[in-house]
């Protein structure tokens, strides 16, 4: 799976490459995917074969790692509809495939989930589970739990109704579908549903907390990460922003968008929900990764999940009950003044409330939040969570969003810029027990790549101008770096090769929302271009060009 394990720690036990030996780390082989859009995927390695999903047109490559230079074993092309590119909000990315029982599962941009035989590259099943004409796309990496492929839709900027769907891994038939908005029956809320906070209890809150029928086009898409705790038999995932961005068009808490669900993977039944951003005002999707760890909290070991949230707080939540144990800012926040742990309420700052016809300035964090989709890594060895994140603020003006199926449904114009300090990115090591930063490294450009932690006390991440970096996990000192051909927004991985050596792999290919100016050739004279990101990255075209290349690094073989 893309996140290494069910707990989403992105931690590799391999330690051949460590703070000493990394001096000798060099490129072992490279591979061009033939696609020039944003490469956000994590390669996955199973039994001596590496599998890579490219951005649209979503080709799946199998590379034979047992042979020198890792030649292509097979290539599978799903040929998604090209029109799907028009309803993909933030580049035509794909975040990776999942492997289970000799099959690979991945999503195509045009709403198909595909199962491919890992040995032969032959399609086993291919099902269409949504409709691009309603603005739906799929970009997330599936997770396979107990014979079910869990997939969710994207399109929170197109008036999509978000859902998570479980497909039978054998046949591709829909086992259950849990919507993020609407009546309890659609959200799969039943007798098992026991949210920790009073405000989440009540009948049909997914309807009550919206203007009539607005929940049908209300977003809450599931385009991020799914975690699974086999002991509690619960899956965890977040729901995206409510739509449209203009909050005046959707008075109410807009449940169950902008929150975290815990569900039974067999039936889909919801067990608890916690809404991290009720009535979202700033496009703070709640889809980031949920890292499942056991931590001492006030002297007691608790089963918790860590959530570096887009709204700027790092939440520690009891994953059995949904109780928020702590929520501390890990970046600049002026939109909210804190989380009340008794009621679970997020306190908004009135002065930053957005209104139609009025430009509200200096909103921090910006629309992509303190951290967007790009996942962090947790090292049990250091006990730190390594978070690649952003330091952006924005100006915002709401306007009436006009719903026309298949076209954007946003109603806000945004321009972003660097936050306090002038650096646009930051890589932080967070100590969830002490509830503070252990160390952090400022990055000039926004950080849009995932993180990887290894037992060699190293953490890896990439920058948008193409540097692939390794830091000492304990101190944050830079110990190694390598310049790749394009900007890095992918998820680095580490694996043991068939020869027993440890490898590090990452895809280099700029894009995503942050890379919009490069992939779309956007005009920086319009400060609201690229969803407002262009204004924060006008220098990016001079610092990185499009690309699509896999880089695999290893230590020289011992002779």
């Amino acid at each position: 799976m893309a996140a290494k394990n069910y707990a989403n720690t992105r931690y590799s036990e391999l330690d051949q490459i460590n703070t000493d030996s990394i001096r000798d780390l060099r490129v072992d082989f490279t591979f061009s995917t033939g696609v020039l859009r944003g490469h956000e995927a994590a390669p996955i390695v199973v039994d001596g074969t590496m599998y890579i999903v490219t951005p649209y047109p979503n080709a799946l490559y199998a590379l034979d790692l047992t042979k020198p230079g890792a030649p292509t074993k097979w290539k599978y092309e799903p040929n998604p509809a090209s029109a799907a590119q028009g309803v993909a909000c933030c580049d035509v990315v794909n975040r990776g495939a999942a492997y289970a029982n000799g099959r690979l599962f991945f999503n195509t941009l045009d709403m198909h989930t595909v199962a491919v035989d890992a040995a032969s590259g032959k399609e086993v099943w291919n099902v269409k589970i949504g409709e691009i004409n309603k603005g739906e796309t799929m970009t997330m990496a599936p997770l396979v739990v107990k014979g079910k492929v869990l997939v969710g839709n994207s399109g929170g900027e197109f008036g999509v109704r978000g859902w998570l769907t479980a497909l039978d891994a054998g046949t591709g038939k829909i086992a259950w579908r849990a919507y993020s908005t609407g009546p309890d029956a659609d959200v799969l809320i039943g007798p098992e549903f026991k949210p920790f906070y009073e405000k989440d209890r009540g009948k049909d809150l997914g309807v009550q907390t919206w203007p009539p029928d607005a929940w049908r086009i209300g977003g809450g898409t599931v385009w991020g990460w799914v975690s699974y705790d086999p002991d509690l038999n619960l899956i965890y995932y977040g729901t995206g922003n409510p739509g449209p961005w203009n909050p005046e068009q959707r008075p109410g808490d807009n449940k169950w968008s902008g929150g975290i669900f815990a569900r039974d993977p067999d039936t889909g039944a919801a067990h608890w929900h916690y809404q991290t951003v009720p009535h979202d005002l700033y496009d703070y999707d709640a889809i980031n990764e949920l890292v499942l760890v056991d931590l001492p909290v006030e002297g007691q070991m608790r089963k918790v999940l860590l959530r570096p949230e887009r709204n700027g707080y790092l939440y520690v939540i009891d994953r059995t009950t949904g109780e928020v144990l702590s929520a501390d800012p890990y970046g600049t926040i002026n939109t909210t003044s804190g989380v009340d742990l008794k009621t679970g309420e997020l306190h908004y700052v009135e002065a930053k409330n957005t209104k139609a016809g009025k430009v509200v300035r200096d909103i921090c964090p910006g629309a992509p939040g303190t951290k967007d989709w790009n996942p962090s890594a947790f090292s049990p060895k250091t006990g730190l969570l390594y978070i690649p994140h952003l330091n952006l603020c924005m100006d915002w003006q709401s306007s009436e969003a006009n719903y026309i199926a298949g076209t954007p449904y946003v109603g806000a114009e945004v321009r972003m810029y660097a936050g306090p300090g002038g650096n646009r990115g930051e890589f932080s090591a967070w100590d969830p027990v002490a509830r503070k930063k252990a160390w952090s490294v400022k990055e000039d450009l926004p950080l849009w790549s995932g993180a990887l932690a290894t037992a060699g006390d190293l953490v890896f991440y990439g920058t948008m101008d193409g540097w692939f970096k390794a830091l000492d996990a304990k101190t944050g000192d830079e110990v190694w770096k390598f310049k790749t051909g394009s900007g890095i927004i992918g998820q680095p991985i580490s694996y043991r090769g068939p020869d027993g050596r440890q490898y590090i792999a990452v895809l280099s290919g700029i894009g995503g929302w942050a890379g919009a100016i490069v992939i779309g050739g956007l005009d920086p004279r319009d400060t609201t271009g690229g969803g407002g990101f262009v204004n924060a990255t006008p220098d990016l075209p001079d610092r990185s060009a499009q690309g699509g290349m896999l880089y695999v690094f290893a230590l020289p073989p011992r002779s």
Partner: protein, 338 residues
């Protein structure tokens, strides 16, 4: 003699005939309009008196001067006359000052009474002005019981209502003369006005700030009705549109989805959810078309769809060519949206 006596009331009736009606500040239907009408009448009476007195003084002065001039004599100044003039002038100043101050105090007092309702409102309605119509959204603590309509505000009789005023384009002004004074709607700024209708009836509101080519056709109706009728109406408005009842209506619905209608209008319960033009979920329940331009009926609806630009030139509803059978189907469907 008798004829002359009868003539006075007739004249007054004729003069005040313009005061009654659905759009008149002098036919108050609410407490605030009552206060406004009262101050209007008081001001009128006092100022009329002042006017008459001034005219009399003027006439006296003018005539006296002429008489003195005619006699050709220059009257030497006398101490007594001086004192008299001084007293008169002093009295004049005092009376003027007292009148002005009293009127100011009265006006201030009326202003206070106008804002009596604040903090006592039981309902909130958000009114957004657009070129050239009114979007009306009824807010509720339970968001799913809020709903949007257009160019028509219904209120229960005797219930104070807070109206939030917003604009999406230029400055407009909200004015229902029978209920209250004017209040501007300014883009990017939240304004509000509290109103109450104490008498059942339909009152006409009008944009009172020039806002573009169709400013004159930017009206709406306020309908004050008993609580039960209002509640029934609200429940009906919250419900989604009724599905097509026959094949022709079904054809009309399909046409609505497949043509330009769906780009601007919404009909809840269908895929049409656009919001730059009036919500049509319960179009046929409304009294007027095109922001008070035409009374609602099927014939007017047909005329409006066929050529909106000749009825209200420059408005944002475009001319969409339809075949006669398509038009009939569309009319059948829209007319079913009660």
């Amino acid at each position: 003699m008798r004829a002359r006596r009868g003539g006075v009331p007739v004249c007054i009736a004729l003069l005040t005939a313009g005061c009654e009606g659905i759009q008149s500040a002098l036919d108050p239907a609410g407490r605030q309009a009552q206060h406004l009408a009262e101050i209007w009448w008081v001001m009128l009476a006092v100022l009329m008196a002042v006017y008459v007195i001034v005219l009399i003084c003027l006439a006296v002065a003018a005539l006296r001067r002429r008489r003195e001039n005619l006699s050709g004599m220059i009257v030497p100044p006398e101490r007594q006359a001086d004192r008299r003039i001084g007293l008169l002038l002093g009295a004049g100043v005092v009376i003027t000052a007292v009148t002005m101050l009293s009127l100011t105090a009265y006006s201030y007092h009326t202003d206070r009474r106008l804002s009596d309702l604040s903090g006592r409102t039981e309902m909130t309605i958000e009114v957004t002005a657009l070129q050239w119509w009114w979007k009306v959204r009824y807010l509720d603590d339970v968001p799913s019981r809020s709903f949007t309509t257009a160019n028509e505000i219904r209120v229960p009789v005797g219930v104070p209502v807070r109206i939030l005023l917003k604009s999406q384009d230029v400055i407009h002004s909200f004015w229902v003369p029978n209920l209250h004074g004017k209040q501007d709607l300014i883009p990017g700024r939240d304004n509000e006005i509290d109103i109450v209708a104490d008498r059942e009836g339909t009152y006409r509101g009008q944009c009172a700030e020039f806002c573009g080519i169709q400013h004159a056709h930017m009206a709406f109706e306020v309908i004050a009705e008993p609580r039960e009728a209002f509640d029934a109406w609200r429940d009906a408005q919250i419900a989604p549109a009724s599905p097509p009842a026959d094949d022709q209506q079904k054809q009309g619905q399909d046409l609505f989805q497949q043509s330009a209608c769906v780009m601007c209008h919404s009909i809840r319960g269908t895929d049409a959810a656009a919001s730059v033009a009036p919500d049509l979920t319960h179009l046929a329940s409304r009294g007027t078309l095109a922001a008070g331009t035409l009374p609602y009926n099927r014939g007017n609806l047909a005329a409006w769809i066929v050529d909106p630009q000749s009825i209200k030139p420059g408005n944002h509803m475009p001319l969409v060519s339809l075949s006669p059978s398509d038009l009939q189907a569309l009319l059948a469907y829209l007319d079913s949206l009660k």
